[in-house]
Symmetry: C2
Amino acid sequence: MAKKMVYLFNEVKGGNTTENIILLGNKGAQLAEMTFIGLPVPPGFTITTEACTAFYGKGKKWPPGLESQVRKKLEHLQRKMGKKLGNPKSPLFLSVRSGSYVSMPGMMDTVLNLGMNDESVVALAKQTGNERGAWDSYRRFIQMFGDVVMGLEHSDFEVVLDGVKKKHGARYDTDLNTENMREVVKEYKKLVKEKKGVSFPTNPWKQLRMSIDAVFNSWNIPRAVKYRKINNLRDDAGTGVNVQVMVFGNLGWDSGTGVGFTRNPSTGTKEHYGEYLLNAQGEDVVAGIRTPKHIDDLKKEMPGAYKGLVKIFGVLEKHYRDMQDFEFTVEKGKLYVLQTRTGKRTAQAAVKIAVDMVKEGLINRKTAVMRIKPEQLDQLLHKQIDPKAKKKEDAVAKGLPASPGAAVGKVVFTADKAVKMKEENEKEKVVLVRTETSPDDIEGMNAAEGILTARGGMTSHAAVVARGMGKCCVAGCEAISVDEKKGVFRIPDKDVTVKEGDLVSIDGSTGEVFLGQLGLIEPGISGEFGEMMKWVNGFKKLGVKANADTPHDSKISRKFGAEGIGLCRTEHMFFKPERIMAVREMILADTPDERKKALDKILPYQRNDFKGLFKVMSGMPIIIRLLDPPLHEFLPREENEIKELADHMGVSLQKIKDTIKGLEEFNPMLGFRGCRLGVKYPEINEMQVRAIFKAALDAKKEGYEPLPEIEVPLIGSVTEFVMIKEIIKRVAAEMRVRGKVKYKIGTMIEVPRAAITADEIAKEADFLSFGTNDLTQMGCGFSRDDAGKFLGIYVERGIYKRDPFQSIDQEGIGKLMKICIEKARKAKPGIEIGICGEHGGDPESVRFCHRLGLTDVSCSPYRVPIAKLSAAQAAIEDEKSGG
Amino acid sequence: MAKKMVYLFNEVKGGNTTENIILLGNKGAQLAEMTFIGLPVPPGFTITTEACTAFYGKGKKWPPGLESQVRKKLEHLQRKMGKKLGNPKSPLFLSVRSGSYVSMPGMMDTVLNLGMNDESVVALAKQTGNERGAWDSYRRFIQMFGDVVMGLEHSDFEVVLDGVKKKHGARYDTDLNTENMREVVKEYKKLVKEKKGVSFPTNPWKQLRMSIDAVFNSWNIPRAVKYRKINNLRDDAGTGVNVQVMVFGNLGWDSGTGVGFTRNPSTGTKEHYGEYLLNAQGEDVVAGIRTPKHIDDLKKEMPGAYKGLVKIFGVLEKHYRDMQDFEFTVEKGKLYVLQTRTGKRTAQAAVKIAVDMVKEGLINRKTAVMRIKPEQLDQLLHKQIDPKAKKKEDAVAKGLPASPGAAVGKVVFTADKAVKMKEENEKEKVVLVRTETSPDDIEGMNAAEGILTARGGMTSHAAVVARGMGKCCVAGCEAISVDEKKGVFRIPDKDVTVKEGDLVSIDGSTGEVFLGQLGLIEPGISGEFGEMMKWVNGFKKLGVKANADTPHDSKISRKFGAEGIGLCRTEHMFFKPERIMAVREMILADTPDERKKALDKILPYQRNDFKGLFKVMSGMPIIIRLLDPPLHEFLPREENEIKELADHMGVSLQKIKDTIKGLEEFNPMLGFRGCRLGVKYPEINEMQVRAIFKAALDAKKEGYEPLPEIEVPLIGSVTEFVMIKEIIKRVAAEMRVRGKVKYKIGTMIEVPRAAITADEIAKEADFLSFGTNDLTQMGCGFSRDDAGKFLGIYVERGIYKRDPFQSIDQEGIGKLMKICIEKARKAKPGIEIGICGEHGGDPESVRFCHRLGLTDVSCSPYRVPIAKLSAAQAAIEDEKSGG
């Protein structure tokens, strides 16, 4: 006797087991599972993947016994449904679908409405009372079967259809009446005959046989083979074939179709949710011609079906232990479930459902934590454009979603203007639009609701600063062309010109730009969110800190659960208007004495900045990075500003211009910055360190507990580090810090050379912190500001799996990090190693950091919960894999 | 009995042995050696280093027995010389010098003319007939003894001397007469009494005791301790003390002094060479007041001494087996040799002497090869400013010695002007002066004799290209300020303005800039040079190739012994005037088709370029690098050029400006270049590969043997490489190259990520080639164009041992190279790995490459012999150390 190659859905034992998935394919096992747990699935059977491989083994012939097994199961179906394939009174229709051990969406073939012929179409017309619909189904079947099974070109059918439409003056398919549809069917059959030399098969059994052949064959069509190659799937696995009875929701007012959610996917509330249409098919719900009703209405309209549905809600939740989104059809009062899957949900719903299910005893805390997509939490932390107000097609341009949230405001083109408008009217809302931003624009960015730039990538200045500020930003919006001087931006493609003062709305979560004012939704954090984060804190191993430069940001960081400041950039403090003049004096100084004099003016400001930080973060460590950017970033660019500076300092315009020219760099990324500034001008670091210690001593006196960790940027060699460390220790000794304030001295690892010589550096440093932005730039050899020209293609073509500025390039830069960590920990076991680049807030990167054994990550305050959740998930995954 | 602590020079057995060096110090052993081989060294004795350590063991007291031993040896000297310390008739004078086991130049103390007092000075005056001289010696002795032995400030003596000079209206020391000198001596003694409360010691024995004490003590003065720490020398070694009789060449016309060379240090000819002065002291020869005579004249003037000298020439050469430079003095007809050392020599002499000595059987070939400093060979390969014509103080500015050789010509400020002047008059010589050069300037640089730039370092564009061309270049000459528009450069410090057309002379070996026209010396390669290079080829293990882009450069490469082309940059070919327009069309193309059309215009040119190369280099491999620089380098900058291009292409000015703006980069180093161009625009590489294969097939047909090795630049990931490799293989298949032309496909390692993932890359590549310039830039995180702002300080302060762009940073980038090589060779054992950056011509880097196990290095054609010699020396060193 031949091996069993065909299984009725209800013959399969155990449902969705690995064994069944391999034997029946993923879809077959799912259908078996649904049947197994008692869902009213339309009956059907699955031909095993073994039959498929046997088919290939026999030179593409059905293996012995398959035909008789299929016939037997078909008869079973016909009996059960009281219908027969091709029967002119009560015809049965089938779907034939592929299904391998892993879902290969869209790769293999499907045939619907199998069983259509000149008789059954009449029966269907009668049953549905919709003659045109029946004939439309018929012509669709010929088209699908012709294309998938018989190998005709889809376009050939289109030509025929267009011909008929033209003949009758019809513009759309829907303009064709029943007669016209009949004509299409006739012409389609003619086409098949012409092209293939055979008649279109009207025998349903033949249709079925050919369809099963087609599914078998589709296992080895080029796109499927290629898909398997890319995704590393087995070529010898074969596909299962799922033959299932088609049920119709349009057989009258005792039929219908709908979608159900076991909980509310928007709010997460535990309630029956969904909608349906009577006397309709699935596509009618989607098409939106008729407005579906709420599922509660079904109670009155079809009490029996409703009762069945309520039972299904219970079965699904109990079995899947997650919110399910399922499709159902009622055929002549009988309820069928066609498909169920884990339902998509908003972030708010996701958190509520997970927490509720823990309380209900359905899942445990770890499962709940694993359920939330870290990225999704972002929704809970920023303003959004009201989905009701926003239509995709209204967007006039689309850039990169550089910093989440949304903003509405008047367009301004300079940072000064943004500041001025805000000063004149505190309630004024502006959107700063620039070709690109520079550190000069910080104040203006701060004053603006959001930032829109024409150039720059996800880690351009605008993007990084905006994310740090938690401000919405659309960057690299290449469709717009900004003319800052004229005070306009143009969108040539749309023939749109936007002037200063015009209102725009931007969505930093999608990159969309809209004209005018759209409604915004305020962020809301539900109580379950807090509960969830407590569990997260218990599971995670990685520390999570925030990048924050001001007391304001630090407050937000604490609010969002940061365990310290992982990066405080001191240079942002230099840009404030009352300080920038002194900074410029310092840069233009000819002698160390002059430089010190200028620095002395800055010192009190910095001291106050730091004191503010120490107060807010009392008891938590703050990594303070010494001055990092190249000096030219602090110098004026505009002629009038240069003039002003010259007048203020009493030096010639030419001298200032010469200094500016002298500081110009071909590759500022690779220029005179970071610790190089301190090596050449030790006075600068000395002032900063003095300010830090003074602030710490003051804060201590007032009862706070300051924990400064001074960080030296852009180290390439241990010698550089030691030089700056000596300055810090000398100042500490002069100020008698010991015994009063605990402090650490560490450094960043952002230059590849530092990673390679990390053993030497670790011996001298209290902590290391990866600056993965710069490490990626230098390690991969592309600047984040310029990479936009090719990085898109690079990601598209798989050279990098993801934009390496968004997610750590684990195969390259990650290896360099690994080398670094090994060297550092070998030289100084247990040394604290963190990461403070933008990657610290990227879930996948956080997981990678966990696996690397880092001590902590640091990210934008607004991403702290995301990083924490990712860290917890990584730890749970670790546990599972026994790590 | 006390241990023997004092050795007469002629008591020491074995001369300059390690044992003696440890016991007596380096200088003591040298003096023993000279005495031992029969040189008439003024007699003396050495106090052992053991005595010094015993001195410290006794709390800075002479160990028992030392005094009696010193007294005994002193008596021996007095007897031998027939003179006595402090004797008013025939006084003996001594020198007292330190000398540790390793020379610590200038670290410890020395006393000369010991024995001077009020009586001996009179005797010396009488003997020399130079009363003023005798008193001058006396006052010098007091000054030196006062400073070194008694611890007075050198400046205190200067104050006294200045006082006396002022009093007598003397401007220089030489204006003081005998009386004045006596007065100085008196005042000096007064000073000593005042400051130290004791009289200046007139007892010569006391002088000697105190001097020996001083030398012992100088072992532990801070600068000596620090020097030992830096140089890793032993603190417990102690110093020897060398006490030697002073001899005088100024005791009358039967006395004299001079310098001898055993061979001619300029030409290397084997002849007695040197000069002398009768009745004079060493300093008189140096001072240049009297003109010394040639050593041959001594034959007539002092036949006895001459005979002695001839004997010494023989002894020295036989013993030291190298050209010696020695000092001699004749005191009353008796010849003394004071010092001998290996003589400095010109490159020409170095080569000739080494080769001659092999022929004479004095040394073997390996020793000969080890004798030549690779760097020195440079002299043999470039034009030089005639040393007679050049005075250091005439230089009006000094920049970096960026490319060796010298140039004289008329100043021009644009590449176009340089080309134009050369076209108008082929014999015209111009020097191109620019703030900095860009690839646009290539043709102009080629037309010029030399290049002078105000900005940029040793590896700036100007420097790199000039070295490649073998053209003299002074780069980064910050003292000059270039105004290209006005056609002048200014040297504000010197108040000099140089206009277009003015003559200047520049020295690329020193960085000096001179006004006007200085004489030049043509390079000359003597026959011995060729012979030496044959030996070098026999010893070296590393292959040495040249970086050459043109048939002309390739010819030079072959002439200088290159074993192939290690780097042919294809982009230089793009700049020729007849091609640049097509290149610009290609860049401005909107579609692949347009781009191909433009590329088709360039193809024939490239094909001819390559064919020329294949012919010249027939039978040798040529690594051809695909297009590397960012596209914006090819676009015009000046308004009129942009206009011209717009007219030519029939597009709007705005479109071209937009393209130029769109291609602008913040960090061009890290931008859209290298293989990234090919990933985005495969057409470009395809054209280049087509041109290479077509040229190779053509050359093959004509009987040449082309060996192209196609190199993909700026790879960061193996996927990029494979993409370009597939293009190359496809074109090769289309052109049916197989079986006709052997070719390889390899890549550069210049991005740190490529080094880290070299195992993956090696599996796919036929060869790897380090681009250490870029690897250093990205690995260390500084651009070579910008690093000038701090790199000076970095090298000065020891953060880098040498400029990492000149010599590989072995401690950092070298480690990265090592990781790369290990990974690559593990994945593909024996894979060829070369280096083609500027470092390929730096001797120390070449040695490092040998140790790393690289296959070959590639450098400027003009540095091929230097690289070969370095490679040979590394191999010989390896053998010695048993490697």
